[in-house]
Subunit: 338 residues, 2 copies
DNA sequence: TAATTATATGTGAACTCTCACAGTTATTCA
DNA sequence: TGAATAACTGTGAGAGTTCACATATAATTA
């Protein structure tokens, strides 16, 4: 009994195409790279030869020579923003880049960067959980010349980054609760090592202080539904005195709502909630969530555009691209009972 | 005024390492590939040289020679399963592969495969919306020898695939509604060109027939929240006679619930709902969703494991890996009013 | 028309690694 | 101890492309 051996048919090379078209291999190279100095006649002749031989340039050989892979790699330190992976992939492709993912822990960062370098990744999108370096120079040294863009705020540092203005967003959210009449406001924050979460937390604190209010209890959670559930349960055990909660994202709000409901508390009647993100579920939850809207697709798209512009022009001045979030008021907030 | 020119310092090669260690370049190659026939002494000597020179093998040159990129690429035809991208990325890395994404439309499929081939992608994970080929041979011809695994059912065909048994899952769901006492059951299906959605639809039909019931109105939607909302609105306009709805996934159920609520109908009191997936939100929605659970992380992991085993052993017999979903009964279903 | 320039095409070399094979030394066994 | 075998190490060649340069032809200008 035989089994099929897939005969490894040798693929045609530039030389084969050159012979077929009656030109030199260099001319073929010029054609496949859309370079100048090729007459229309020979160009079409080469193109025809490419078609008849079903020639595809060998990327490995090109890579060896050019040291450019046309690849953008996103380095994910946590399973947070995966929402925008699809959109990033599409944006990258639109701009002529391949898109690859490394989902890593902090210990793997160095190895990942080394690998990226040896594969000639052209640009990096970094989505950190916690800060990954002290300053731009240090991170630049780590990536060894590969341009990178960070997603998410990194307050006080000078990385090239795209982010939403969390301070502003959190102010909007907290001030809304206060304007509606709340005086006892608790918090379920995201992990405070994360800059976005930290900025929201600080801005919550600041907004309360500026309004002459003392902050309620704050519990730190992990951005997940379950985490939100646990944090709210904990909060209710500690201090049931609040009439509103400021929550680090919609997922945690959904979990927190479960915990409230379990104890017979209703949103917004007994407790108001504001959160962040405006995930698709937010507008259809019961109650519909009042939330600070952030468009992750847009953020992902901007990250790709920024990194591509850095690749094309290494001398582009480093800057931060910051989007302003909007507060979307829905059903999860109302004035407190009197 | 000068500006910093990043001096392209030439990276060390196997030759440099060989000189440093006092051996031949071939020995260096043996060491970096963990091959046999290298004495412990020379191995450590080479390793030391690698360390002092900070040598990293040039993947492009290796690729040119070996024609293996150690890359698995996932080809996404729609933004559905992105839930498991993170898990797939991690699984791939655990097994020593890089992970890249192509998010494409059907027209781009051929170009994507050509690109994959010229980049020496080792394996493909295909997540189709609609069927992409008639049979295994055809698809094998398209991918030109690159092994692939399809995610999702492809009933009647013989692709290597990982999927959940939708027929079984849908039977569980429909039978549950019937067992609880429903006789008028409508449907909001996923896009019927999608095999998973189609299987659920047919199984819904079959289960009703086997129970001697006539199917209610069925509306096709697109797996999104908004789509579910529109479909349910449409359904309510057409035929308000049903007491339960069979819904193609949790997202659409959440949208459908909004539409019901808008018309003053309550779930499950007025209308029962079953759906599919058990997304994290499902257990925390109001009402908690009765749903057919599918573990996408597991599915992604299995897809990676399957493709890696195909890469390692091309003669592995083609088969389908099928998981059985479970019905999770929560709050969105109850007996109909009498 | 000769000199100058622009355009088109070709040749040699290099990019860095691995494969195939050859040669050398160490080990085993009768 | 000598032959056979195993383990180790080295050399030549080539993988398929692009870069730098050289040459040939055509277009432009004085």
């Amino acid at each position: 009994m035989y089994h099929l051996v897939t005969m490894k048919t040798k693929r045609p090379t530039v030389y084969d195409v050159a012979r077929e078209a009656g030109v030199s291999y260099q001319t073929v190279s010029r054609v496949i790279n859309n370079k100048a100095h090729v007459s229309e006649v020979t160009r079409t002749r080469v193109l025809d030869a490419i078609k008849t031989l079903d020639f595809r340039p060998n990327r490995a050989a090109q890579l060896l020579q050019t040291e450019r892979s046309n690849t953008i790699e996103v380095v994910l330190f946590y399973f947070g923003f995966n929402l925008f992976l699809y959109e990033m992939a599409r944006s990258a492709q639109r701009l002529g880049y391949h898109f690859s993912i490394s989902a890593i822990t902090e210990q793997e960062f160095n190895r990942t960067l080394e690998s990226a370098r040896s594969r000639f990744v052209d640009g990096l999108i970094i989505v950190p959980m916690a800060p990954i370096a002290e300053n731009y120079e240090e991170l630049k040294r780590l990536t060894d010349g590969i341009p990178f863009v960070q997603v998410g705020a990194n307050l006080g540092t000078d990385f090239p980054s795209v982010s939403y203005d969390q301070t502003h967003g959190a102010h909007l959210a907290a001030q809304h609760l206060i304007n509606v009449g709340h005086r006892h406001i608790a918090e379920v924050s995201g992990p405070l090592q994360n800059h976005d979460a930290y900025d929201r937390h600080i801005s919550w604190l600041d907004t309360l202080r500026d309004n002459g209010l003392r902050p309620g209890t704050s519990v730190e959670a992990d951005f997940t539904i379950e985490g939100g559930y646990r944090a709210m349960s904990h909060l209710l055990d500690e201090d049931a005195d609040f009439t509103a909660v400021f929550i680090g994202n919609d997922s945690m709000a959904i979990g927190a709502h479960s915990a409230l409901r379990e104890r017979g508390l209703r949103v917004p009647d007994d407790v108001s909630m504001v959160s962040f993100d405006d995930i698709p579920e937010a507008a259809h939850f019961v109650p519909k969530l009042t939330t600070v809207r952030q468009d992750f697709n847009l953020l992902g798209q901007m990250a790709i555009e920024y990194i591509v512009s850095m690749i094309d022009n290494p001398d582009i001045p480093v800057h931060q691209r910051i989007l302003q979030p909007k507060l979307v008021i829905r059903e999860s907030t109302c004035p407190p009972r009197t």
